[in-house]
């Protein structure tokens, strides 16, 4: 009998509060061992880890690459896999490999199989894929079943065709189907972080609102605590609420710190939208159990009559190369708003002498307006600036040609009152031009309205 069946049978036979260990909110960036081991000692019924996010931008999804380092990812996966198998409870990992598309999931599975071989582990592995069929999606676009999120432009069939990878965020349904198939380890592609923890208790008829609220908090490990951190967190759930306790002694879950966590990366602190419905936190209550533990109750769940899946896709828009350089001449800095476009124009005349203007060139001037989306007028100029010139062109060679030409002409550009006639720029190293590979943008960030979202995410089970 595998771990999921064992836990389901045990709680069905003898109903009791359940314990969930949120091991890591970002698997692959290190899981502190003392807190994780303290969590294992509490005999949780499930260990869960979130491994991905859309926050990291479109390139990982587009390229099919993980954001985390392979060695660190392997270390974290080994830790949670050995931990879960040592106490025979399900290990559930969502949004595998940072972005949760096929290549990310396959790379994660390869590491899992390698660890199992090296450690002599044998278990049943469930795999949920999140890649969506392009034909199905194009048909949905034609049928008007796809809508933009947050004013995203209307999706076209062409964008579906051009996206490098397209994933859907699976909800609790596919996870429940997998946990019902007698598995020990479940690795899912792109998934709602709540599904990692809320699927098992809702199979056992614990209230959905409480289960999803608990999941939303513990998927970030101890971030809800004071001070917040990445140490593992334990939640104990019953029919009336749940209690949160960080597995790191110095981190305290207080009513205010836990309530405030509902703000994190959410546009609305009172509502969380999931494929199957919405979590309503307007009546949530937070109370201190003691100095380090907080109990939470009151979350309500409203099942949707229009289930929909969030879909994400990234499209290649060219190859990126950058020029990195500093400047410290006050006259150059004072005139940089004229100098940069003047040099861009010189570069264009040169590189377009026998080729079309097929690239974009942008500058960010750090110290002035490189960071803020809207710098304020009338601010004093700094004593030094860092300049990044960014080119996106159809080929890597073309992007490199543009930034190398830019380097030379920005270095030697003459401007009114120039004293530093040997060069305008300080290079921290050479070459100061860097080719960064393909550039992507999110071209799908939409809702797919579908009566049966679970059918989009097939389950495979293998025995290791």
């Amino acid at each position: 009998m595998s771990a999921s069946t064992r836990i389901l049978d045990e709680v069905r036979r003898n109903r009791r509060p359940m314990r969930f260990l949120g091991a890591s909110g970002q698997l692959g960036y290190g899981i502190p061992t003392p807190a994780f081991n303290a969590g294992l000692a509490r005999k949780p019924d499930l260990i869960g880890c979130d491994m991905g996010s859309i926050d990291i931008g479109p390139t990982y999804l587009g390229k099919g690459e993980m954001a985390t380092a392979p060695a660190a990812t392997r270390r974290d996966l080994r830790k949670v896999l050995l931990g879960a198998r040592s106490i025979d409870v399900p290990l559930v990992i969502g949004s595998a490999g940072s972005a949760g598309a096929g290549p990310h999931l396959d790379a994660t599975l390869a590491i899992i199989r390698e660890i199992a071989r090296a450690e002599g582990l044998h278990f049943r592995l469930g795999v949920l894929r999140a890649d969506l069929s392009r034909d199905g999606l194009r048909a949905a676009v034609r049928a008007g079943r796809v809508t933009g999120i947050d004013d995203m432009p209307v999706l076209t069939e062409e964008e579906v065709t051009e996206a490098a990878h397209i994933v859907g965020q699976m909800g609790m349904g596919p996870f429940r189907r997998a946990l019902a198939e007698d598995i020990d380890v479940l690795i899912a592609g792109r998934a709602c972080d709540t599904a990692i923890f809320a699927s098992l208790p809702t199979m056992l008829d614990f209230p959905t609102g409480l289960s999803v609220h608990m999941a939303k908090i513990i998927e970030c490990a101890s971030l809800c605590c004071l001070p917040g951190g990445r140490d593992s967190i334990l939640a104990t759930l019953d029919d009336d609420g749940f209690v949160l306790e960080s597995m790191a002694e110095q981190r305290r879950a207080t009513p205010v710190s836990v309530a405030a966590h509902s703000l994190y990366e959410q546009a609305d602190p009172y509502t969380v939208y999931e494929p199957e419905g919405r979590l309503d936190l307007s009546a949530a209550e937070y109370a201190a159990v003691d100095d380090r533990r907080c109990s939470v109750a009151g979350a309500r769940w409203h099942t949707s009559s229009d289930p929909c899946v969030k879909i994400e896709g990234a499209r290649r828009i060219g190859e990126r190369a950058v020029l990195l350089a500093g400047a410290a001449d006050p006259r150059f800095i004072a005139q940089h708003r004229d100098i940069l476009p003047a040099v861009a124009s010189v570069v264009r005349d040169l590189v377009c002498e026998d080729a079309p203007e097929d690239y974009t060139l942008r500058f960010r001037v750090y110290g002035v307006d490189g960071v803020r989306m809207a710098a304020l007028a009338g601010e004093a100029l700094p004593r030094e600036v860092f300049i990044m010139g960014e080119c996106i062109a159809p080929t890597a060679d073309r992007a490199a040609e543009v930034v190398r030409t830019l380097k030379q002409y920005l270095l030697h550009h003459g401007y009114a009152g120039r004293l530093s006639t040997a060069g305008n720029l300080a290079f921290p190293f050479t070459p100061p031009e860097v080719s960064l590979g393909p550039a992507y943008r999110f071209n799908l960030y939409h809702l797919l309205h579908t009566p049966d979202p679970d059918a989009l995410f097939p389950l495979e089970v293998e025995t290791l």
Binding site: I54, D55, I56, G57, P58, T59, I149, D150, D151, M152, V256, A259, A260, H261, S262, L263, Y264, E265, Q266, A267, D268, P269, Y270, A284, Y286, I317, T360, R362, R364, G370, V371, R372, M373, A374, L376, I392, A439, Y440, R441, F442, Y445
Partner: protein, 100 residues
């Protein structure tokens, strides 16, 4: 008094790639009330600081967390060409000097 002198946390982050969310958190209920009632945090004033229309600004008081949430439409979607802050984690700066 400036917002940076009264708030315990002033932070920004994406809420999805098309929205920026700013959280202001306070150590005491009194601090929270003082800022929550201040006209400095009107949609118009915040919109002017970020150069977005007042209609693209939402201000949500959240007393349970002694916090105020502000949500803005990002002028450039996260990761699109020209973006300056893919995670949106440094866009709190224009709020620091708001007079309360």
């Amino acid at each position: 008094m400036k917002l940076a002198d009264i708030a315990q946390v002033i932070r920004s982050k994406n809420a999805g790639p098309r929205r920026l969310t700013l959280d202001l958190m306070f150590a005491t209920d009194a601090d929270y009330q003082r800022v929550a009632q201040s006209p400095s945090l009107s949609r118009e004033n915040i919109g002017a600081r970020y150069r977005v229309a007042a209609n693209d600004v939402t201000v949500i008081p959240y007393p349970a967390g002694r916090a105020i949430k502000i949500v803005l439409a990002r002028p450039i979607m996260a990761g699109d060409p020209g973006d300056r802050d893919v995670y949106g984690a440094q866009q709190h700066a224009p709020l620091l000097e708001v007079e309360i």
